[in-house]
Amino acid sequence: MTSDIPSNGEIISAVSVSKNYGATRALNEVSVAINPGEVHALVGENGAGKSTLAKILAGAVEPSSGHLQVAGVPVRFVRPRDALRAGIAIVQQELALLPSQSVIRNVFLGLEDHRAGILVESSLRGRYAELVRRWGFDLHPDMKVSSLSIGDQQKVEILRALARDAKLIIMDEPTARLTTPEAGQFHKMVRELRDQGKAIVLVSHFLEEVLRLSDRVTIMRDGCVVRSSKAEDETSATLVQGMLGRSIESTFPPRPRASLFAEPRLEVIGLSGKKFSDVSFSVRSGEILGIAGMIGSGRSELLRTIFGADRAIGGEIRFGTNVHSGFKSPREAIAQGLALLPESRKDEGLLLSQTVGDNIVLPHLRDHVASAGVLSRHRQQDLVNNSIGTFGIRCAGGGASMSSLSGGNQQKVVLAKCLLADPKVLLLDEPTRGVDIGAKRSIYELLFDFVAKGGAIVVVSSELEEVIGLSDDVVVMRRGQIAGRFSKDEATEERILAAAFGTA
């Protein structure tokens, strides 16, 4: 794949590594080499395979085929401990610390000095002092980790890697959750580590950061390496081009544009909440509004807040004729004609140990299934059979256990659940995540059908193709704020990505 892999001197290299998850190929014959003293960035869109590659290098995931090589010798990492022994540590996006323990205990967890099982605290303190002095960190050893800022918690993880003499530290989206000054400090620290001979693999969404910080950049797309090149030979434009690299197929049936005179269904005015602030938009009857942006840019939180699942901090929502500062609960939102298809069907969408039918009717029991609190079995059966037919859910009937369905059919169940009571506005968060192409197309058709009948949709998606293909207008979010608005004609992948990355 890459032409210029140095065969020797590397800390670790991946040789034709592939990774399959079921029928999905997350990595496809990837070869890459990491050299000492270099910052090696991995860039690509969500789902390009960066994190999978990072996890394979760190021993958290085993490749389906291909192998890893340390100093020219093939190695096999079954668990992270194997990688650690080879000098490779990973700092995940979600930090893996013991929050109620002190800094020093976290740093030396698993490396404690002991005599016959009894801890020898004093030598640990000496080692900590030396470690901190050598790497120029400024952290008190007795601070409780939960009382530290995210930036300092990250330092604890890095110290932990350094305490194990890691030669390579892999960092997955290290600055995504940092404030700007914290990110600046972090960049300085990375350079110091590199200057002292450590190698860093940097997985990042922030292209300026990548260009400023790294020596080498590997661009990934669809599980393949596009190219590995020197950072100085790239610009943010060439990076984006490499990450995109193809044109949109016409998976989306044509659809008449929503009338400009249609009544607004949902208006959000200066709404602020957890992880986003001052967001305004409106959707009319017959319209689909797409919300693009990187994972963690506040899109899901926005939808949850509109739906009343999280509290709004400020701003207001105009829904139909009502203006208020946000629904108090999902129950109220559903009663008013709002529906949410949540981001994770496993964690927020479904009751996996209940039946298909019980899942579909759950939000509608009071209004459509029960009288005076007592369920009517045949009413449920009618509704469920109807939904299974309309949505083309492939299952052994309404009594089938939820966990027996494929991902695509599970997603159709969540959609059926949302649409059963004819909502006015549908909020969709990653509506086709983990769904195969066939089911995807039928989900799109159901959505178009819904707006053709006068409904309105707000859709969050990490797949640009989907956002552009579905939406009339596209709003791009970046770090909790709206970073761009595009009409259907203006919305191109380049523009959306540029707004999402902040390179516009």
Binding site: T24, N46, G47, L351, Q354, A370, L375, S403, R433, D436
Partner: protein
């Protein structure tokens, strides 16, 4: 932002684990059936063994005794099972049982048996309401919260009763353990309450909600279910059943003790029955009939050991083994 072949989004990687396919679903159903079958088979087997080894077992007098002795545990196990299915835990049911019986006795001695019985049951509901507040609005872990209230209620029971027995003066109180048509009223109450619980669980919106909350709290909330209210009603139901058990047992001897040892052993017996009945401690799954089977299995074992003159020490060991087997089936089934 995966732009090309959509099937390659990284999110699929996460999801692949939760698309186990039809084979897995079938396996799960089979295991559930096995769970149902094994508990029934054990109950029937136990019944046969007891009938063969003891002449006394099959007499209506003995059977009625076994049933009557199971009333308190059975009442608390039915609603306690619902609490666990809802993802909660009620350690305080035993203390509520003791405290509401004392309230019933005191009120009865002043205002008569009718008011005494009603106030005992209402005290149970109110004390359940305290648990509900602590575990919903207070956001305190159910285990810790009800352990706290359990100890508090136990102390209150001793304080109110003065530590010894409280005797009920109005003989009308014993109506709850009289016979109607040859059957003890307490057994009828037990049967009726179990039927109500089964109906609530299987046929009402409330039952669906409580399973939904126990299965996946977040999904239930996003489906418009009020998680706090659902939990609150379940705790109050549990308090109701404990209060009911308290007055029913008080009606037998017309004397109410205040021992917290009794309260604790009652809670643990009920929990044992719930576990033997295969209610998942993770919540979201369980059935009233299986809890009843659990109650009767443990009662039958106890009765059998008595009738055959075996050291009750072995009975305790056997109960422990039965719990472990039932829980192991549940854990292995879900893996």
């Amino acid at each position: 932002m995966s732009l090309s072949r959509p099937s390659q989004s990284s999110s699929l990687a996460k999801d692949s684990s939760l698309v186990p396919g039809a084979a897995n679903g079938r396996r799960q159903r089979n295991i559930e059936r096995m769970q149902d079958f094994s508990i029934l088979a054990f109950l029937v087997g136990l019944f046969i063994v007891l009938a063969l080894t003891s002449d006394v077992f099959l007499t209506s007098r003995n059977l009625e005794n076994v049933l009557a002795q199971s009333v308190a545990v059975g009442l608390i196990a039915c609603s306690g099972g619902l609490v666990i299915m809802c993802g909660g835990f009620d350690l305080a049911a035993g203390a509520i049982y003791v405290l509401s019986a004392i309230v019933a006795a005191k009120v009865s001695n002043t205002f008569g048996a009718e008011l005494g019985i009603v106030s005992g049951i209402l005290a149970g509901v109110a004390l359940g309401g305290v648990n509900a507040l602590i575990c919903t609005v207070g956001k305190i872990n159910a285990f810790v919260g009800t352990l706290g209230t359990s100890i508090f209620f136990g102390g209150a029971a001793t304080a109110i009763s003065g530590g010894g027995f409280t005797y009920i003066e109005d003989p009308a109180f014993s109506v709850l353990s009289a016979d109607i048509f040859g059957i003890n009223v307490s057994i009828i109450i037990f049967a009726a309450f179990a039927a109500v619980c089964a109906f609530l669980l299987n046929r009402t919106v409330f039952g669906r909600y409580l399973l939904a909350v126990g299965d996946n709290e977040e999904a239930a909330k996003l489906s418009g279910v009020s998680v706090n209210w659902t939990r609150a009603w379940v705790y109050m139901l549990s308090g109701f059943s404990a209060g009911l058990a308290g007055v029913v047992v008080a009606s037998r001897s017309l004397a109410v003790g205040s021992s917290s040892g009794l309260a604790n052993s009652l809670v643990f017996s009920a929990l044992a029955a719930i576990l033997v009945g295969g209610v998942s401690m993770r919540g979201g799954d369980g059935a009233i009939w299986r809890i009843l089977a659990g109650v009767f299995i443990l009662a039958g074992v106890s009765n059998g050991f008595n009738l055959n003159g075996i050291d009750p020490l072995y009975q305790q060991m056997m109960t422990g083994v039965l719990i472990l087997i039932a829980v192991a089936i549940d854990v292995w089934a879900k893996r």
